[in-house]
Amino acid sequence: FKSYEGKINIDGSSTVYPLTEAVSEEFREIRPQIRVTVGVSGTGGGFKKFLRNEIDISNASRPISKSEIELSKQNNIGFIEIPVSYDGLAVVVSPKNTFVDYLTVEELHKMWSPESQRKITRWNQIRPEWPDAPLNLYGAGTSSGTYDYFTEAINGKAKASRGDYTASEDDNVLVQGVSTDVNGLAYFGLAYYTENKDKLKLVPIKVDQESEAIYPTDETVRTGTYQPLARPEFIYINVKSAEIPYIQEYVKFYLENAAALAEEIGSVALPSEVYKLSYERFKNLRTGSIFENKSIVGANLLNLLHEDAQ
């Protein structure tokens, strides 16, 4: 291909896609001869291709799973794991809902736990002073990283959830659903709340009854005060690709610009320290996952990276 110096193939998560797209768009400005392509086949689909050596970089909205690590060993593929942004999860209700002032993790658990299925169906079962109205739940599609994360954070175990709620992969559908349902409650990516503020009412979260009710904002998410509903997003780089100069250039560019671009596209930047440490990792071709055998919920990226650097 005539004028191109090199190709970078990226695929994977739809949640990370906007950031990678933005980075690639900017990268095109400075290195137009490098052909960067980005696909959206989901985190699972991305890893599948990644582990078959079909792509250089995989976007992921969750850390690589055990079975995927297993496969990487079998196929002899080294990967470098780099967190690139946060995705805050917003809990929202209809603006017509006047009684919900905040929710505790405990209450969210009561709403969403598997035991509540067909049992907790009315608002007054959550708090007796709330009206005796049906509780209609909207949430992430069960094959998404958001679902895995939310269930782990709220119910203590990934995929542990009641099943009688309206699920969708597409957060715009959930927005649509809850905005017209007085008795509805939904969780989805923070950006979807930000873009639909007028149609929704944001619910602040208390970790427990004593603590303060925190609204998710860029600030509270980045600093880790909004707990436990913020999850990190990653890119995974094939070690062999990481040795190619223009890919090194790209990753460097990615980490330098991720913070600014994340704000622009509506997700949350990580602390700048995290980008620095990640770049070190990349330069040293440090493979493996910092989340192997660790829960991702409430994890402090900075600590984990420091630990790992030792």
């Binding site: 599948k48 998404s144 309206t166």
Partner: protein, 295 residues
């Protein structure tokens, strides 16, 4: 000359056989691709549970692998779509063929064909944002996500399959039959349904099969507007999930691809395949039986 023309005839026939066999190869390919993972799936999940369990929760902590809820959702939405599309589609075809002027037909037929060209994402949001609220005015108990609304919209989407192909079939009925019918004093309605439709039955049935097949395979509309809840119900007012929706959802999601969760889509896929296979065989049987009598 004679020999060479014979040879080229033979060659053309061989090429055509090869073309026909591609469809067989496709089927084999699909079955093969689906069965490898399905076999692995059934190594971990009992077949009996698969067909008798009333819950489908492979992506939940408490896993159940009963296909029935998905099958029910598939059947339910397809039936609703068929109930909308068949009477409407055939009536339009008959109207265009028997009642309307040539000009009207020549204009309306292609316009209706646009319905088949609209991306299904559009239909999905149409069902969710337009049809569901409208239906809720009539049926207050209707939940925001339900089988009825996407079913109706799917029906609208497949109308042109039925209308266009049926109208072609009606058009192909010899004029002399229509004249014979009118000559006996039959009115348009009688001519249409007692003479033309029976004479074009084969084409009409094919159009219906094609349309139903399209509805069975449809994904986005249901994914957006039905709520993705695998409920074992035939109540159109409830939220449901179909096999195809489930397959797309998982195959494009975050699920690790060498896991049991991921393999569920192959088992579900093969179920759908078997289901359509049975359906097609039944309709073929009906068609053949009907046709043999007077062709």
């Amino acid at each position: 000359m004679a020999n060479s023309s014979r040879k080229s005839e033979k060659l053309i026939e061989l090429i055509m056989i090869a073309c026909s066999l591609i469809s067989v190869l496709t089927t084999l390919g699909i079955i093969l691709v689906l069965s490898i993972d399905t076999i692995k799936f059934f190594a971990e999940v009992s077949f009996f549970d698969f067909i008798t369990d009333t819950q489908w929760t492979p992506l939940f902590a408490d896993k159940h692998f009963g296909i029935l809820p998905l099958l029910a959702g598939t059947i339910l939405t397809t039936i609703i779509a068929t109930l909308v599309a068949v009477p409407v589609g055939i009536s339009i075809a008959v109207y265009l063929n028997e009642y309307a002027s040539k000009k009207f037909t020549a204009t309306v037929k292609p316009i209706l064909e646009i319905l088949a060209a609209i991306p299904t994402v559009v239909y999905g949001f149409f069902a969710l944002q337009f049809v569901t609220p409208l239906l809720q005015l009539l049926i207050p108990s209707l939940s925001g996500f339900n089988a009825l609304s996407p079913g109706i919209v799917m029906g609208i989407m497949i109308i042109p399959y039925i209308t266009s192909l049926s109208e072609d079939a009606l058009r192909a009925v010899p004029k002399s039959l229509r004249e014979a019918s009118y000559g006996l004093g039959a009115n348009k309605l009688q001519t249409a349904f007692k003479v033309m439709v029976p004479a074009a039955s084969s084409g009409i049935i094919v159009s219906i099969i094609l349309a139903i097949s399209r509805a069975l395979g449809e994904t986005m509309i249901v994914a957006i507007a039905a709520g993705q809840q695998p409920n074992l119900t035939l109540n159109p007012l409830k939220s449901v999930e179909t096999i195809t929706t489930y397959i797309v959802q998982v195959s494009m999601g975050d699920v690790p691809q060498d896991s049991l969760e991921y393999r569920t889509i192959f088992a579900a896929g093969i179920t759908l395949f078997a289901f359509t296979f049975i359906l097609n065989n039944i309709s073929f049987w009906i068609q053949k039986k009907y046709q043999n009598r007077y062709d």
